[in-house]
């Protein structure tokens, strides 16, 4: 059967033919396989079950091209981050147009921990980076395959056993493009046993041009290790941001991922967590505040394959104008994964009649001694709450702002780092004032 390809698909296929990252034979084979997978599948559309509410094929008209690494200074980066975020003391890892820029980065994490640019790690065939592309348990989808086929940069980060980082790692993705551009990057984390690390992730743009990002983050979390990852995006309204976080948790590992999405064009944050060791726990939470025609999709799979593991998910979405949010959460409890404890909640607050929220929670349980629950709610600002605040002299606008803050606040409380939490709170406040 002959496939009818869209302009974007044709463009992506030709980009994948040009994209060649130096590396050993296994890498070339992996990329070739991935390219063939994408060619066979094409961009996901609404007939693909997991992409029912986010029709990438029709949303993505053309494929933007990647650009060479541009010039940027530390001052420019700090200006884009804003004083509040720039002031947080971190190990900054700066990715300029998808490439790790070692001059702008602080790659010395201490002890035996390492940061390598993905290009260098693959060119040298560094042994611990050979697990790249294998963290994933399920079949790759078209977007994940595309990332493998297109990846032109990123980093491999190894945190040594028992190493507790003295300050967070700040992943800063900066675009210098002066016109439309694309980036396909991959991050590979190997977190050692009993290590502790905090990760902040920001995406900024010097020229504020539309971009297409395809980012895959693979995380191997060692036994007893603790990871906290907070990601913040506020993309251009014509951008496409496709992110995958694929994690595998060791025994008693403690993993937290918080994703805050403000507006943007089309954003898909996909998360797949495999519980591989007993008594591991993960908290995958976040907030999305969407106005205009922003579309944000959060799709997650929590795959319990070990005993007594815990999963917690709490998402708060605020939708204005024609904003649209999608929540798809699947909790799988494999046979034998007894004593699994899973709780998933997704709540949306609609500020306009043209906003839309689609929620699809799923439980797939193959063990009998488990505690799993999920819920989803959609509502508007409660008139009684609003009247109460106004009856205390708080003007309408301010009262609404307080109630929105209260709504997202429950999720924001989950950000453990005080400075970072304050930063995200202030960003949400600014969003409301603008909306």
């Amino acid at each position: 059967m002959e496939l009818v390809r869209t302009e974007a698909e044709t463009g992506l296929i030709s980009l994948s033919e040009e994209a060649k990252i130096d590396g050993p034979a296994w890498l070339k084979e992996l990329q070739e396989t991935a390219r063939a997978e994408f060619q066979a599948k094409g961009l996901p559309n609404r007939r693909v079950e997991e992409w029912k509410y986010t029709d990438l094929k029709s949303a993505m008209k053309v494929a933007f091209k990647p650009v060479d690494q541009g010039d940027v200074t530390e001052a420019q980066i700090n200006e884009q981050l804003g004083a509040e975020l720039a002031a947080i003391s971190t190990h900054k890892l700066v990715f300029v147009d998808g490439q790790l820029n070692e001059q702008l980065s602080d790659c010395s994490l201490g002890e035996l921990s390492e940061v390598l640019s993905l290009k260098a790690a693959l060119a040298d065939d560094v042994s611990w980076v050979q697990s790249i592309g294998t963290v994933q348990q399920n079949e790759r989808d078209a977007v994940q395959a595309l990332n493998l086929a297109l990846m032109q940069g990123g980093a491999a980060i190894k945190i040594a056993d028992r190493h507790e980082l003295n300050k967070p790692i700040h992943l800063i993705f900066v675009s210098t493009a002066t016109s439309e551009s694309s980036v396909a990057s991959r991050l590979f984390f190997e977190i050692g046993a009993a290590a502790k690390v905090e990760i902040i992730e920001s995406h900024i743009s010097l020229e504020d041009k539309p971009s297409q990002t395809n980012l895959v983050t693979e995380v191997l979390v060692g036994d007893w290790a603790k990871v906290r990852h907070v990601k913040f995006t506020n993309d251009h309204k014509e951008s496409v941001h496709l992110s995958n976080v694929i994690g595998k948790l060791g025994k008693e590992a403690d993993y937290g991922l918080f994703q805050a999405t403000l507006d943007g064009g089309l954003t898909r944050n996909q998360v797949e967590i495999r519980y591989d060791g007993d008594e591991a726990k993960a908290d995958i939470s976040g907030v999305a505040l969407l106005s205009g025609k922003s579309h944000a999709d959060l799709t997650l799979v929590m795959d319990h394959a070990a005993l007594s593991c815990e999963s917690r998910e709490l998402f708060k979405t605020v939708l204005d104008d024609e904003g649209r949010a999608v929540f798809q959460g699947k909790v799988i409890v494999q046979p034998g994964a007894q004593k699994t404890d899973g709780e998933m909640m997704s709540k949306a607050l609609l500020l306009s009649e043209t906003a839309e929220f689609d929620s699809k929670p799923e439980l797939e349980i193959y063990a009998d001694d488990v505690l799993c629950g999920h819920g989803a709610t959609t509502g508007q600002i409660d008139d009684d709450l609003l009247f109460y605040l106004k009856a205390r002299g708080v003007p309408d606008e301010e009262a609404r702002s307080l109630l929105i803050q209260a709504f997202v606040g429950e999720a924001l409380e989950l950000i453990e780092n005080d400075d970072l939490r304050d930063y995200v709170i202030n960003q949400t406040l600014a969003w409301y004032e603008k909306a």
Binding site: L389, K390, G393, Q405, A406
Partner: protein, 249 residues
């Protein structure tokens, strides 16, 4: 001074208030008593500016000016305050943050300077102490997990902080045991002054032993059917409201 003139109010086409006339001069405390469903709470909401009520006739004047076109927040700035029968729980809004926001919003509208954070803390903590509101309550979500008595104390605290000229207390006694009733009433009595008037709405006479009114009005079927001194409350306590219902029948 609050003047209510021939006030007619409907909800979804259903008449609730049928011509209320009431004047509360500065410094006076009036009580409205009446059976359930007589329109007492509606009157309090209409004065506070809740939206779902249609005022079909009449007017409400505060210090000589009609308040009907003002939104609820403007009415508070003008000096009106309603203590709710059922204070609302707002999880995620810290009580202290809310109090600061409310006080500064009202001060701004009254063209007073906003208070600095230390001055604000001093003011709030001082008044909270007088009313026996524990410091940890100020850190919690507004009214979340508060007992009935704590919620009512929080209402009176807000009343004290917003410095109103006209206080409306809607069934402030409901859900209170005798000790809580005494504490809340003492808080209210401490706010009585020459230039502050009050309208106390209650079903039972009990509250009026503590907050002694200058006048008592009896309301049934959306109308004030009788007005008297404080002794009228005692009379109602003995005879109930049946007599007035018959009058209307």
């Amino acid at each position: 001074m609050l003047e209510i003139k021939n006030l007619h109010v409907e909800v979804e086409g259903q008449p609730i208030l049928n011509g209320i006339d009431l004047v509360i001069p500065d410094g006076e405390v009036h009580a409205i008593m009446g059976p359930n469903g007589s329109g007492k709470s509606t009157l309090s909401y209409v004065i506070a500016g809740k939206e779902e009520y249609d005022i079909t006739e009449g007017d409400i004047l505060y210090n000589g000016e009609s308040i009907l076109e003002m939104d609820p927040a403007e009415r508070v700035a003008a000096g009106l305050f309603l203590a709710f029968q059922y204070p609302i729980e707002i999880p995620g809004v810290a009580t202290m943050t809310f109090l600061r926001t409310a006080i500064n919003a009202v001060r701004k509208e009254r063209e007073q300077d906003e208070l600095s954070i230390p001055d604000m803390m001093k003011l709030i903590q001082g008044k909270a102490k007088d009313l026996g509101v524990k410091p940890e309550m100020l850190k919690r979500g507004l009214n979340v997990g508060f007992s009935g008595g704590e919620k009512k104390r929080m209402e009176i605290l807000q009343m004290a902080l917003l410095d109103p000229g006209m206080c409306i207390l809607d069934e402030t006694d409901s859900g209170l045991d005798i000790d809580a009733l005494r504490i809340v009433s003492e808080g209210v009595n401490a706010l009585r002054s020459e230039n502050r008037s009050m309208l106390v709405i209650t079903h039972y006479q009990r509250l009026l032993n503590y907050i002694v009114p200058d006048k008592v009005h009896v309301m049934t079927d959306g109308k004030i059917v009788r007005t008297g001194g404080k002794e009228l409350a005692l009379e109602l306590e003995d005879a109930g409201y049946a007599e007035y219902d018959e009058e209307l029948a």
